[in-house]
Structures are given as structure tokens and as C-alpha cells.
């Protein structure tokens, strides 16, 4: 946690009525401009937080569509790396920050939407239409 992150005092935390909500910006389709080391580090931090696949273009020209599940940052880009799963291979893979030229948030953001209010609205609409056994179902995997 960096010093720039807002901190609460214990007194403030103990008196909270509602939890502070996280800022949810939908990054689907975003292609960050990367002109320096900080831009790259920030974009990869966002990729780590993103609940969808991203496409990494390496300096070699190779493109990797993957789910980035971890990052290990160090003093230099060469020492920093992201870990990812690609859709068609079982093993964890990694690539150094120094090899990455471009990041595209190409996959669907699986955390976007699905708000409680959406469920209440859908439920009321379906109930008003006389539907029984109302339920939300998980998205198909294929």
C-alpha cells in the first residue's frame, strides 16, 4: 500500500455505517497509452485487477491473449513480471514487464454490471409477467 492511498483512523473505521465502495471503471476495450515506465506499470496493475482477458503485444511482435492473475514488481522492468493463463494451455506462464510493448483490454469484463438493483428490477418485471421459479443463471462456459 502506498502513502498516496487514503488511510482511515481506527476511530473512523469503527464508526463507519457503510463500507467505502471501490471505484469500478469499466476498462473493457481500453488501450492505455504507454509512453514511459510509469505508464506501463500502471497499465499492468490495471490488467492484474481486471476480471477479463487482456491482449499483450510483446516487443518481439508476438501477441498473447491471456488472463493476468498476478504481478511481481521490482526495481527494474526486467525484474518485474506478470503471470497469466492462456485459454488453451493448463500451465501458468509469465513474461517480464520489459518485454511488453502494448496492452489491450480485449476480453469481456466479467465483474461489470450484475448489480443488486438490476436483480430487483428483473425480478419485479418477471414476477409481474407471471413467471415462476425466477432465477439468475451462470453464464455458459462454452
Amino acid at each position: 500500500m502506498t502513502a498516496s492511498v487514503q488511510k482511515y483512523s481506527l476511530e473512523q473505521i469503527e464508526s463507519l455505517e457503510l463500507a467505502p465502495a471501490a471505484d469500478h471503471r469499466n476498462l473493457e476495450g481500453w488501450v492505455p497509452e504507454i509512453s514511459n515506465e510509469d505508464d506501463l506499470r500502471n497499465a499492468l496493475e490495471k490488467a492484474f485487477d481486471y476480471r477479463g482477458d487482456v491482449t499483450l503485444t510483446l516487443k518481439s511482435g508476438a501477441r498473447i491473449e491471456a488472463y493476468v492473475f498476478n504481478r511481481q514488481t521490482a526495481a527494474t522492468l526486467a525484474e518485474s513480471l506478470v503471470q497469466y493463463f492462456v485459454p488453451d494451455a493448463p500451465e501458468k506462464r509469465s513474461v517480464s514487464y520489459a518485454e511488453i510493448a502494448r496492452i489491450e483490454f480485449t476480453g469481456k469484463d466479467r465483474a461489470a454490471g450484475k448489480q443488486w438493483e438490476d436483480w430487483v428490477r428483473k425480478y419485479n418485471e418477471r414476477k409481474a409477467a407471471g413467471e415462476k421459479g425466477i432465477a439468475l443463471t451462470p453464464e455458459a462456459l462454452d
Partner: protein, 366 residues
């Protein structure tokens, strides 16, 4: 407290050995997530939002056993996702039972009745069934009408076959204390061993960010629910953790007490927060900046958390860590916690908080 003596003895001697050996940080429960896939789509869930190729991945039994050996905790919780969707869950459970680990298989029970014949009753195996309240509340919470009835059918069958069964409830802003107490009566009548409960946590990735209680509101809710306790209610939890929820005790978070392992590795720092992964449990313990987490750190991600995976280990270590703690646990087990103000709120619910879930349920009445 509903926990069997043999399990309490195992945990007590484990804690004592760790303390005598001078071990500063040690796990009590391994949160072993064998998969993220689920057969429910609860609005606001922060656990299962992944692309399909991630949801299809599972831990193998060998990976599960290696994690359990590496961690060494005496208890293993199998959450998810829905563990009963794992094709080798029986092999995983049997392997853990053979290792004499106390296993809590956390399930929404949609598949429980059908799969029960594949399992063998054991003092080491408990089905921890997700039930968030009475029928109407549970169905609305898990976004599935009829979900409660299916789960209850599974519970009753499991109890009949001689399995250990607990219920596991998460409560959000606006939970109705009177209904929750009625729910406790219902589940005890089903013959379950005990009740597990926890306030909801605002997962950073949860789509539904507006309905998580802060600590002040959570304490009021749990004081109303857990005061004036009926003797018929049994809790499969430390009584000191329940006192913490009611605001009678202060604890700091023990995130390493319930470490999480899944297809990505060892999750840093805890079961709820995802700040990265390590390859080994030792690396998790040694390289995580623990001082940056927990309420005392001021970290906003920990601000509302009073969840059992972080705070129950604190209560258990306190309870088994001294004679004073042991006495407090024994006393808490038999107390009914009389409280006039809590009783008034129960009798006049209009004076209590009335949050989003209760309002939403009222809006659906025709």
C-alpha cells in the same frame, strides 16, 4: 458451542504447540478453493467473475493434498465456486479425511442430495450449507426462487444419513434481525450441528458495492440478533468471535489464520483480498507485508471487514491461548446475553435500521 470435543482438543493442542514453539504466525484453517465455477449467479458475488477458461480450471487432488501438507492447518474449508461441481471432489474429501483434517465442504446444496451417497460420514467431514436466512430471504439473496427448499432437502438428507451438517449465513445491510432469529430456530429444528454466520465483505470485484455494512452498523445488527439468545441455538464458531461481532470485544485481523490456496497459488494477504499470489506457503508468510492489512492499518480495503476468516482465528487463538481465554469461551458458550435495548428493537422493528434487502423484499410483495 456445537463443535465436538475431539475437534476442539485437536485445535487447542495445535495452538498450544505453536505457542510453546514460539511460532509467531500459523494457520488454523486452510481455505482451499478447488475451483471458481458455481451453479448460482448471486448478484454482488465477488468470487466467481472470471473468463470461462479460468472457470473451467480445477485443482487436482494431488495439488490439494500438497497444499494441505504444506500449510499444516488442522482444519480445511472447501469453498469456491461450488465444490460439488468438481469432478474429483469425493477423492479430494476422502484424501483430506485420511489425513485427519477436519474438512468443511461449503456448498449451496443444490447438488447435495444427489451426491450424498458418494460420501462417507465421518467426524472429520462437515457439510457447511450456504443458507442466508429464511426461505424468502435466502432465495432473494442467492437470486434463485426455490433454492432454499432444495438446500433444506439436502440438509435433512445429510442429517438423516449421519453426516455432520452446519449452515453458513452471510448477512448484508438491512438484514431483518427478527427473521434471522426465526431462521436460527428453523435450522436447529432441521437437526444441524450448529450455525456459522458472518457479515458480508465488500469484495473489490463485487459488482454490488452499495450494500455492505460498515463496522458500526454491523455491530448493531449482530447485537440485536445475538443478544437474548435462545439456549436451543448452537453456533459452530468461537463464542469470542460472536462477542466481537456484538461489539463486546476488540480483535485485530489474523489474515494468516485462514490462508487461501487456489488455481493461482497462495493468495496474498487473505481469503477475501487479492493483492497477488505466491508459489509457496512459506513465501506467503515471509514476504507479505502484514502490517499493511487489517483495520488497524487504516487500509480502506480492510475498513469494513469483520469477517470470520480474519477475525475468528484471532478469537480462537485468544480463547485457547490462556486460562483467561478458556474461561471466557466456556462462559460465552452458556451465556444468553440479555440486553433490553436489543429486545426493544426486536419488538419494535420500525426503530431499527431498514436497509436495502428488506426494502427490496417489500417492493416485491404483491
Amino acid at each position: 458451542m456445537a463443535i465436538p470435543i475431539s475437534q476442539m482438543w485437536t485445535v487447542a493442542t495445535y495452538v498450544l504447540k505453536k505457542r510453546l514453539s514460539g511460532t509467531k504466525r500459523y494457520p488454523l484453517v486452510l481455505m482451499l478453493e478447488p475451483l471458481f465455477r458455481c451453479n448460482l449467479a448471486c448478484a454482488g458475488c465477488g468470487k466467481v467473475q472470471y473468463p470461462p477458461h479460468i472457470l473451467k480450471k480445477v485443482l487436482t487432488p494431488e495439488q490439494c493434498f500438497a497444499a494441505v501438507e504444506e500449510c499444516g492447518a488442522p482444519m480445511v474449508s472447501l469453498p469456491g465456486g461450488e465444490p460439488l461441481l468438481h469432478p474429483q471432489i469425493v477423492e479430494i474429501v476422502n484424501g483430506l479425511v485420511a489425513r485427519k483434517k477436519y474438512v468443511y465442504l461449503c456448498t449451496n446444496a443444490l447438488l447435495l442430495k444427489r451426491r450424498l451417497p458418494e460420501f462417507t460420514p465421518s467426524k472429520y467431514l462437515t457439510f457447511s450449507v450456504h443458507l442466508d436466512g429464511q426461505r424468502e430471504h435466502h432465495d432473494f439473496s442467492v437470486c434463485k426462487e426455490g433454492g432454499y427448499d432444495i438446500a433444506v432437502e439436502g440438509i435433512k438428507e445429510a442429517v438423516k444419513l449421519g453426516f455432520r451438517v452446519t449452515t453458513n449465513a452471510t448477512f448484508f445491510d438491512g438484514a431483518d434481525p427478527g427473521s434471522v432469529r426465526g431462521f436460527f430456530d428453523e435450522v436447529m429444528d432441521m437437526g444441524v450441528e450448529g450455525i456459522v454466520l458472518s457479515p458480508g465483505y465488500s469484495y473489490e470485484k463485487a459488482p454490488d458495492q452499495n450494500h455492505f455494512m460498515g463496522r458500526a452498523r454491523a455491530r448493531r445488527l449482530f447485537r440485536t440478533i445475538l443478544s437474548n439468545r435462545k439456549r436451543s441455538w448452537k453456533f459452530n464458531m468461537s463464542p469470542l468471535f460472536l462477542e466481537f461481532l456484538m461489539g463486546d470485544r476488540h480483535y485485530e485481523c489474523t489474515p494468516w489464520g485462514s490462508p487461501a490456496y487456489n488455481i493461482f497459488g497462495w493468495q496474498r494477504p487473505c481469503y477475501l483480498l487479492q493483492d497477488g499470489y505466491t508459489s509457496t506457503f512459506a513465501e506467503l508468510l515471509e514476504t507479505t507485508k502484514w502490517e499493511e492489512y487489517g483495520a488497524a492499518s487504516g487500509n480502506p480495503k480492510c475498513a469494513n471487514c469483520m469477517v470470520s476468516c480474519g477475525y475468528e482465528p484471532s478469537a480462537v487463538m485468544d480463547g485457547f491461548g490462556s486460562l483467561k481465554g478458556l474461561f471466557a469461551m466456556a462462559r460465552g458458550t452458556f451465556r444468553t446475553y440479555p440486553d433490553k435495548r436489543a429486545q426493544e428493537i426486536l419488538e419494535n422493528p420500525e426503530t431499527a435500521e431498514h436497509g436495502h434487502q428488506a426494502r427490496a423484499l417489500e417492493e416485491t410483495k404483491v
